[in-house]
């Protein structure tokens, strides 16, 4: 398979869209946790009961008429190979838990993979909508409409006082987790983020690395999301998160400008060094790759490097993950082999850019 074709299949179509503030906000994610009345939660469910829930939802849901959603495809997790499962995780379409531990699980995807609903994960249904750039408000609207549509076919477990009932008490109430993935290289290098992060957590928001709970920040990418789901309306949750993200965007932009004004030479040097390493290395670990991709992306955003598309960071951060490398190679790879493949993939990908746009060479 050619690299171009592989990438076009590996990257979800929604990621190729541009979105508001996408020089700093990579993507917006809205997740709603829902359960169906009368069925035990997956944690306490027998194989048969899980199967019955799967069947219940699958039979009741027709194809949506909402054009923003499009056609839905059910993918049973059991039918997938280990690498295919990991690819879904690396694309943020399923959780590691769904891939590894769940029984009678499925992921329901729409055509551009902006909608992915997990069935029989921790909750019966985990509705997820992904958007390019910073789109919390409109994003929540799409997710909420999809939620209403589903509720017109299945009975949700809902309590007047406690709201949407979920398996874990951390999700009860709205069941809403709204997250925003941000690229914050300037705030990271100037160490400002170390001071900002504790303040953010005091506001009831959480900051994580790109692969969720417990994952380390890679490529200066940070995921910021609400923690509390009970006692606040969805609109308030979204608004509070939006306020913090807006401030972070502004600070990041200001810091970038400062760096450009006062440390122009160092900045240009750093960006071009990273470009040089990415374009020429033969072995590269994912942590190192993440660091240089972040610098390259910063260079593109600040117009220090021309002829490369900005979404290269989003794209390559996913492509250089172990499962993607193995899927591209069509075989299991040792860590050393992965580092070699990773370097090759990045070099080839950068060459594609230069061929397509005739941009400058490092």
């Amino acid at each position: 398979m050619s690299l171009e074709k592989f990438i076009s299949e590996a990257i979800s179509p929604w990621m190729k869209e541009t979105g508001p503030d996408d020089d700093i906000v990579m993507s917006t994610r809205i997740r709603l946790a829902r359960n169906v009345e009368e069925f035990p939660f997956p944690f306490k469910s027998s194989e048969d009961a899980s199967k019955a829930l799967y069947k219940h939802v699958h039979e009741r849901l027709p194809q949506p008429s909402d054009e923003r959603i499009g056609k839905l495809t059910w993918i049973p997790i059991d039918g997938l190979s280990e690498i295919e499962k990991t690819v879904l995780v690396e694309k943020h379409l399923t959780s590691p838990q769904l891939a590894e531990e769940s029984t009678q699980a499925a992921v329901v995807l729409n055509n551009d993979e902006s909608v992915s609903m997990m069935v029989n994960e921790e909750d019966h249904l985990r509705i997820q909508c992904l958007f390019s750039g910073f789109q919390l408000g409109p994003g929540y609207k799409v997710a909420s409409d999809l939620d209403d549509w589903i509720e017109s076919y299945v009975d949700y477990a809902f309590d007047e006082k406690k709201g949407y009932l979920t398996s874990c008490p951390t999700n009860v109430g709205t069941g809403l987790r709204a997250s925003v993935m941000m690229h914050l290289p300037a705030l990271t290098t100037t160490k400002q983020l170390n001071r900002i992060l504790p303040a953010i957590s005091q506001l009831g928001l959480v900051v994580r690395g790109i692969y969720g709970e417990g994952s380390e920040a890679r490529g200066d990418l940070f995921q910021i999301s609400n923690q509390m789901t009970l006692g606040k309306s969805e609109e308030d949750i979204i608004e509070e998160l939006r306020g913090v993200v807006l401030q972070l965007i502004e600070r990041e932009r200001m810091t970038r400008k400062n760096l450009q004004e006062h440390n122009q030479l160092q900045l240009v040097d750093q960006v071009h060094r990273s470009y040089g390493i990415l374009a020429n290395s033969r072995i590269i670990e994912s942590k190192e790759a993440g660091r240089h991709l972040s610098n390259l992306r910063l260079g593109i955003d600040l117009d220090l490097i021309q002829g490369i598309q900005g979404n290269i960071l989003n794209e390559l951060m996913i492509l250089i993950q172990p499962a993607f490398l193995q899927q591209f190679a069509k075989q299991q790879l040792s860590p050393e082999e992965r580092d070699e493949r990773r370097a090759t993939l990045i070099r080839e990908r950068l060459k594609l850019e230069n061929l397509n746009d005739g941009g400058d060479r490092p």
């Binding site: 359960n35 009345e37 069925f39 035990p40 939660f41 944690f43 306490k44 590691p96 838990q97 531990e101 921790e122 909420s144 939620d147 209403d148 509720e151 017109s152 009975d155 949700y156 477990a157 809902f158 309590d159 007047e160 006082k161 406690k162 709201g163 949407y164 009932l165 979920t166 398996s167 874990c168 008490p169 951390t170 009860v172 109430g173 709205t174 809403l176 009831g204 692969y211 709970e213 417990g214 994952s215 380390e216 509390m228 789901t229 009970l230 006692g231 606040k232 309306s233 969805e234 949750i237 670990e285 942590k287 860590p335 050393e336």
Partner: protein, 180 residues
């Protein structure tokens, strides 16, 4: 970089753990990382559920290791009749077994929810169209009643009457639904 455990294979996993402000870095190869799985982030072993479970156990009414009281014995037996989940297992796993568990354990729930949700224990957000139809009307009525009071206060009696009629319509519609 070599793995700090076996000092033999290449370290491919790098973790930074910060506990009480003390930073601890680990560089491991995949094999040693698997063996050490227990204290590594990202592996399922220390998840939000463990953290929560610890929080739930803090509840003073849940007799911990210290002095098993009579109350603790009663709690041993507290159980959801629908899915059979014991309260103690809920505390252990911090997961409910079914939607009925919320009712079964309701007496103990609010302090837990408050702890997890910054002092809140009541839902104020979205209400589903069908499952929450009744509640939706109730909230609408409450809102309209407040509106009516304001009109009365401002001596806008005609508008207050309009709102009163809307409240009646809503309540009538709901009454009929209840009869069915």
């Amino acid at each position: 970089m070599r793995c700090q455990e076996c000092d033999h294979r290449k370290a491919t996993l790098h973790f930074t753990k910060i506990v009480n402000g003390k930073k601890n870095e680990m560089h491991l190869c995949e094999m040693c990382a698997k063996e050490k799985g227990d204290d590594l982030p990202g592996s399922n072993s220390y998840s939000i559920h463990d953290l929560l479970s610890g929080l739930l156990n803090l509840d003073p009414s849940i007799g911990t290791n210290v002095g098993y009281s009579q109350r603790a014995n009663q709690e041993e037996a507290l159980r959801c009749q629908k899915c059979g989940l014991y309260y103690k297992d809920f505390v252990k796993n911090s997961r409910f077994g079914c939607s009925h568990c919320y009712k079964a354990f309701s007496a103990k729930l609010d302090p837990i929810l408050k702890r997890v949700h910054g002092g809140n224990h009541t839902h104020t957000g979205k209400i589903p169209e069908r499952a929450g139809g009744r509640l939706k009307v109730q909230r609408e009525v409450a809102k309209l009643k407040a509106e009516m009071q304001e009109h009365i206060h401002n001596e806008e009696f005609e508008r207050a009457a309009e709102v009163r009629d809307r409240i009646r319509n809503l309540e009538d519609a709901q009454g009929k639904e209840g009869d069915e």
